[in-house]
Amino acid sequence: MLRGMATPDSDPHEHTHSESFLRSLMRRQLKLSITCALSFLIALLGLPLLNYFMPEVMSGRVGGFTLSWLILGILFFPLVWGIAWVFIRRSISLEDLEVEEVNARKRQHATPRR
């Protein structure tokens, strides 16, 4: 059933089942996810290092809190929201773009056939 489908992009339906389409689809999505993940992993994995190597700075007081407590206990949550918001917006527009590309291709192929 699948072997018949691997033919070159002659048909719009075939295109969505082609190797190149899938590869670009996965690559773009993974790139977006990894970019967003890196931005919070740097903060999440970097904070213990700051605590480890700069204990004096991190235990400095800000309005009663130590700096490290303020970051981990409060400021981390808005950061997570920010990243989630950017990701959701971008991934919705990425999906729209992908749909638009497929539809454009369909139109292109539909005209000469008639």
Binding site: M1, L44, I74
Partner: protein, 605 residues
């Protein structure tokens, strides 16, 4: 004279929560008729309801009681838990939620079977749903036992200590099991959503009231690191509401000192090194290792919790699923700011809890802290402390009831849908399965209650962290790799998931039995044969850390095994893997899922 035995406010708020929960569940059960309704709430739940319901299910006893208790007992290091619970959710959104939803299956076992065309793999996945589920129900039961023995602490006809812990566990376990058996999931979506808002109200309002009387979060923290006498002088000279009470009570000797409590790498993360007599700067590398392992466990473990994943299917489409997740992040993020405040204030105002163990330890700080207001107010005034304490008790009920019900549904679903419906009696009718759902609920509820009776000496939050560590080493690699790597084979996936999960499970179990053997109560006698392990830990602090927090080695091990075995068995990559990847990644608007299902049927699968 009976009523004088317990606080009227606390009892009535708690009773109301239980009654409303059961009432709503029962009412919703009248409306859930079909099997699809029963298992995933018919896939038609709106974004607001679904986000509240997911948050309600996610905020368990660990979040409501455990985080506060652990911040009080261990200080800064415990803050990693709430932050990683929230970050883990983000990780789930980035890598797993979208593809899994597009794939369209009810449960992880459905996904495992669908991705690899293997009924055998489904069976393995089902067993893991049960394993992780039971591990996660234990802390919920501890929360239940703690809350009930707090509410009935003055009753004398159960003996001197008030209501025994196991009685509370059995009582709550029974009520929730019954509720799930009659309501199914539809009931639970509504109840969970209600319970999120109850928990949010119950955690935030007492904090604001306490802060208005005793000073803000920052003020409470600022006295840490100063001698107690200085704090008293400061308050007395500034006057105000806090003069009657000093800002801080003297700490018992069992409490960690300010410097190690307030700063990173404190009692929680450097415990193993301390047991091995490694103190000061030399203990810091151990503490850093512990911290990283904890972060990995919780962030990756969130992505693998069975009862959280199933909720992604209750959205009508992919965009709604993403919006729901955004709202969940906001709802749980706002919530998580509050429990540590209880921990900080508890250290200042109720340090006596450091001396208690089990149900009388720091895990009950959320319940008991508001009561200090009673002592602060003059005689004859309204007992605001009791009212607020009643509200936090109601919140605690909501916390363990909602998470326990959610887990029970997903575990019962696995038993009824997979074990009975597919393995034991594939020819059974839908009505048979509905009937079986009720029996399976009773069975899982019973086992979970029994397990809950054993864990009184363990900290709630700690146990939840361990459930996450097991999920992180089994489901997370399975989902992550299956979604993003085409080269995965059935053998690779199964080897990685099983070895990661089993190693994590064994490591965690070893730590727990050795901790239980130290208990002074009945559990200590039961687990006494494991006491020599503690000597071993004292000589090998590194091994202790790697067993207590295994994620740092089990997660990479699991992923490596998946890659290695998949490469070795390359010939058995499913032939239609491209189509499956397409369904996982192509936007739903392209409508490729229909193709996939039709072609699948065509093959005569």
């Amino acid at each position: 004279m009976m009523l004088a035995a317990f606080d009227v406010w606390i009892l009535s708020f708690s009773a109301l929560t239980v009654l409303v929960t059961i009432g709503m569940g029962y009412w919703a059960a009248q409306k859930s008729r079909t099997a699809s309704d029963f298992f995933v709430a018919g896939r038609g739940v709106s974004v607001g309801w679904n986000a509240s319901a997911i948050s309600g299910e996610y905020l368990s006893s660990a979040s409501f009681m455990g985080v506060a208790g652990m911040v009080m007992s261990s200080g800064y290091d415990a803050l990693w838990y709430p932050v990683c619970y929230a970050c883990g959710y983000l990780f789930l959104l980035l890598f797993i939620a979208g593809p899994l939803r597009r794939f369209g299956a009810y449960t992880i076992p459905d996904f495992a079977e669908g991705r690899y065309d293997s009924p055998l793999f489904r069976k393995i996945a089902v067993i893991f749903v049960l394993f992780i589920g039971f591990f996660y129900t234990m802390p919920q039961m501890k929360g239940a036992g703690t809350t009930l023995s707090y509410i009935f602490k003055d009753i004398s006809w159960f003996g001197e200590k008030g209501l025994p812990y196991p009685v509370g566990v059995v009582l709550v376990g029974g009520v929730i099991t019954f509720n799930v058996a009659v309501g199914g999931m539809k009931g639970i979506t509504l109840v969970q959503a209600f319970q999120y808002w109850l928990k949010m109200f119950a955690i935030s309002v007492p904090v604001f009231v306490l802060m208005s009387v005793y000073g803000s979060y920052g003020t409470q923290l600022s006295v840490q690191g100063q001698p107690a006498s200085a704090a008293v002088v400061q308050t007395a000279s500034s006057g105000g509401a806090a003069t009657a009470e000093s800002l801080r009570k003297p700490l018992p000797t069992k409490a960690p000192v300010d410097a190690s409590w307030l700063n990173p790498f404190g009692p929680l993360t450097s415990k193993a090194a301390k047991a091995a007599k490694i103190e000061g700067p030399a203990s810091r590398p151990y503490a850093l290792l512990y911290t990283y392992s904890l972060i990995i466990a919780i962030v990756c473990g969130t992505a693998g919790l069975p009862h959280i994943l199933v909720r992604f299917y209750t959205n009508p489409d992919g965009v709604a699923a993403k919006r729901t997740t955004m709202w969940v992040m906001i709802l749980i993020g706002v919530f998580y700011v509050f429990p540590p405040v209880f921990g900080v204030m508890g250290r200042n105002l109720l340090p006596a809890l450091y001396e208690g163990t089990g149900v009388n330890g720091t895990d009950k700080i959320v319940l008991e802290l508001p009561k200090v207001l009673d002592a602060a107010g003059g005689p004859g005034s309204i007992r605001w402390g009791s009212i607020l304490s009643g509200i936090t008790c109601a919140g605690a009920f909501a916390a363990f009831m909602s998470t326990f019900s959610g887990l029970l549904v997903s575990m019962t679903g696995a038993l009824a849908h997979d074990v009975y419906g597919r393995m034991l009696r594939p020819e059974s009718s839908a009505a048979d399965r509905m009937q079986m759902f009720k029996w399976c609920a009773a069975l899982t509820g019973g086992v979970a209650t029994l397990l809950g009776c054993f864990v009184e000496p363990l900290e709630i939050n700690f146990m939840v962290g361990q459930a996450f560590a097991i999920a992180a080493a089994s489901y997370f690699p399975l989902l992550f790799m299956s979604v993003w790597w085409r080269g995965m084979t059935l053998q690779g996936a199964a080897t990685g998931m099983l070895s990661g999960g089993i190693f994590a499970l064994m490591a965690v179990a070893l730590t727990n039995v050795s901790t239980l053997s130290l208990d002074k109560g009945p559990m200590g006698r039961l687990f006494a044969p494991f006491a020599p392990l503690n000597d071993f830990w004292a000589h090998h602090p590194l091994l202790r850390i790697l067993c207590e927090q295994p994620a740092i080695w089990t997660v990479p091990m699991s992923i490596m095994l998946m890659i290695l075995v998949s490469k070795l068995t390359r010939s058995s990559i499913p032939s239609d893997v491209r189509l499956k990847m397409l369904v996982l990644h192509a936007p739903e608007k392209l409508g490729l899922k229909q193709d996939y299902i039709r072609e699948h049927e065509g093959v005569g699968h």
